[in-house]
């Protein structure tokens, strides 16, 4: 069964159509990269899976978006609990103005968990998962802003992991980071794949190549090509894809 699926999805901001008939099916425990020029709809598509687009007024969606086979836009779906299934990581590291510990504990606390021991354990596991534990274990009570950009981004990933989602959505997670931090995040993505299904929006073609199993190329709201990353990067079927990934666009 597919972990994530979109069937004939159209998406509108007001009257302008941002996505046109998108069909994608994503297997569990894979990394899928969404690439394409700015404004092609890839970020909008990513945000369908945690209904983050709901926050913007005056939007409309047609078609179905499925997680584990369930239509998440069906009537009666609890959006707050739906969002717990997915963790999201953003372009700029955005830790909350709290301590390192509280940042990771946040998702547990807002979901009503009060067991101190449980929270401590979960925070530790999550920080260990992002290979940050050794760097922060002595300063958990310090502000998250004291960390470097790369560390902050890993903390944000830990924050997302703490509520144990099965899907991680990443929106250009390394575009604000230096190359070393970028490499660390990419390694992390590669490792997290064994436990999570990851969808990543990236402007960096090489990154898509390095981290993903499948790649979807969006252009002007349309899905131009969706195939195994190896395929897409060595032998794209569509000329437009080839022009984009070789940098001969426009």
């Amino acid at each position: 069964m597919y972990k994530l699926e979109s069937k004939n999805v159209d998406f509108f901001y007001g009257t302008s159509q941002a996505l046109k008939n998108i069909n994608i099916a994503i297997h569990p425990n894979t990394v899928t990269a969404l690439i394409g020029p700015s404004g092609c709809g890839k970020s909008t598509y990513l945000r369908l899976f945690n209904r983050m687009n709901d926050l913007i007024g005056n939007t409309k969606i047609n078609g179905q978006v499925l997680i584990d086979g369930d239509d998440i836009y069906a009537k009666g779906v609890n959006v707050d609990s739906l969002r717990k299934k997915t963790g999201m990581v953003f372009q700029k590291p955005n830790p909350f103005p709290k301590t390192i510990f509280e940042n990771v504990a946040y998702g547990l606390r807002v979901n009503g968990i009060t067991d101190k021991k449980f929270i401590e354990e979960r925070v530790e596991t999550s920080i260990k998962q992002v290979v940050l534990w050794d760097e922060v274990k002595d300063k958990l009570k310090k502000s998250a802003f004291e960390l470097s950009g790369g560390q902050q981004q890993r903390l944000c990933i830990a924050r997302a992991l703490a509520i144990q989602p099965s899907v991680i959505l990443m929106d250009e997670p390394t575009s604000a980071l230096d190359p070393i931090s970028t490499a660390k995040i990419e390694e992390l993505i590669y490792e997290l794949k064994s436990k999570y299904t990851i969808v990543i929006v990236t402007h960096n073609m090489q990154q898509a190549g390095r981290v993903s199993d499948s790649t979807a190329f969006f252009y002007l709201g349309e899905l131009i090509e969706y195939s195994a990353t190896k395929e897409l990067f060595t032998n794209p079927k569509i000329e437009r894809t080839q022009n984009y990934i070789t940098g001969r666009f426009g």
């Binding site: 007024g57 707050d80 909350f96 103005p97 709290k98 946040y106 807002v110 924050r159």
Partner: protein, 294 residues
């Protein structure tokens, strides 16, 4: 011949730049000069009467002697009262406006109204306060009526600044919090407000500066010409610095003799506003260090 004479172009560019520089610099210095002139004039005229007694004593002999203690206290009461009223209401309104209110025509109208409210002359607020709080609600000339009137006056400022502060919070913070399954209120209270706090505080303190200097709204609602004792409840009248200043410079028993006291009062008022601004700056710096974004 090249199409453009590079040398000539550079020369004219440089000349234009110099002229512009000179203009901007002179305007800048002009403004600073006026400010310094006013300040030094008031300091020069007023510093002579300032001493501990001036600050801590009652006025004497038809306000030609003695201190301005009750006016300072009155102003402090009015500032605190108006803030207690305007700050919570303003911040809550701004949160509603920015975090909950869906974009649309109604929101635009409400926002336009708020902005218009900020443009209403303060004397109109004074009249409104008098008819509503003093007469209709029967508070009489009192600290309560004055505070509420002043509160109304700064409400739009508090709402505006708070809204701006909330808007400045990057949306990804909200999305990150909501993405973790938090509700909107949890997100606002635990993430958005702490980040916006430094700027909200700035708005608060700027309003304090505004309130402490207003004369018109308190004219009909609270201010007393002269009171021999301090107010003992919020239903008492009070003296206030700006009104005191107005009174002793226009209608005192002996205007010429109370001149130095008038300047002293002005100096104290300016100092209070200045201190408010410094505190605002300090607090903003302190809090933004705590929630530093990078």
């Amino acid at each position: 011949m090249p199409l453009i004479d590079e040398n000539k172009l550079t020369k004219s560019k440089n000349r234009n730049q110099k002229i512009a520089f000179f203009l901007f610099a002179s305007v800048g210095y002009f403004i600073v000069t006026i400010l310094v002139a006013i300040l030094s004039f008031i300091v020069y005229k007023g510093i002579g009467v300032i001493n501990w007694n001036f600050i801590s004593q009652m006025p004497e002999e038809g306000m030609t002697k003695g201190g301005i203690y009750p006016a300072i206290i009155g102003t402090l009461y009015l500032v605190s009262g108006s803030m207690l009223f305007a700050f919570p209401i303003g911040v809550l309104a701004a949160i509603y406006m920015n975090e909950y209110f869906k974009d649309g025509i109604i929101k635009r109208i409400v926002r336009m109204m708020t902005n218009n409210l900020a443009g209403v002359p303060s004397i109109v607020f004074g009249l409104f306060g008098m008819s509503l709080f003093v007469n209709k609600l029967g508070f009489g000339d009192s600290i309560l009526a004055g505070s509420l009137t002043l509160g109304l006056l700064v409400l739009p400022i508090v709402i505006r600044t708070t809204e701006e502060a909330l808007k400045a919070v990057d949306d990804t913070f909200r999305q990150a919090s909501l993405g973790l399954g938090a509700t909107k209120w949890q997100t606002t209270r635990r993430v958005v407000l702490p980040i916006a706090f430094p700027n909200i505080i700035t708005g608060l303190i700027l309003s304090i500066g505004r309130v402490s200097g207003e004369t018109a709204p308190i004219l009909f609602t609270v201010a007393a010409y002269f009171l021999p004792k301090l107010p003992s409840s919020i239903f008492d009248q009070a003296m206030a610095l700006p009104y005191h200043l107005y009174v002793i410079s226009t209608s005192g028993t002996n205007i010429e003799e109370s001149r130095p006291i008038a300047y002293g009062t002005a100096l104290v008022l300016i100092l209070i506003v200045l201190i408010c601004n410094l505190i605002a700056n300090g607090l903003r710096k302190y809090f933004s260090k705590k929630v530093k974004m990078n």
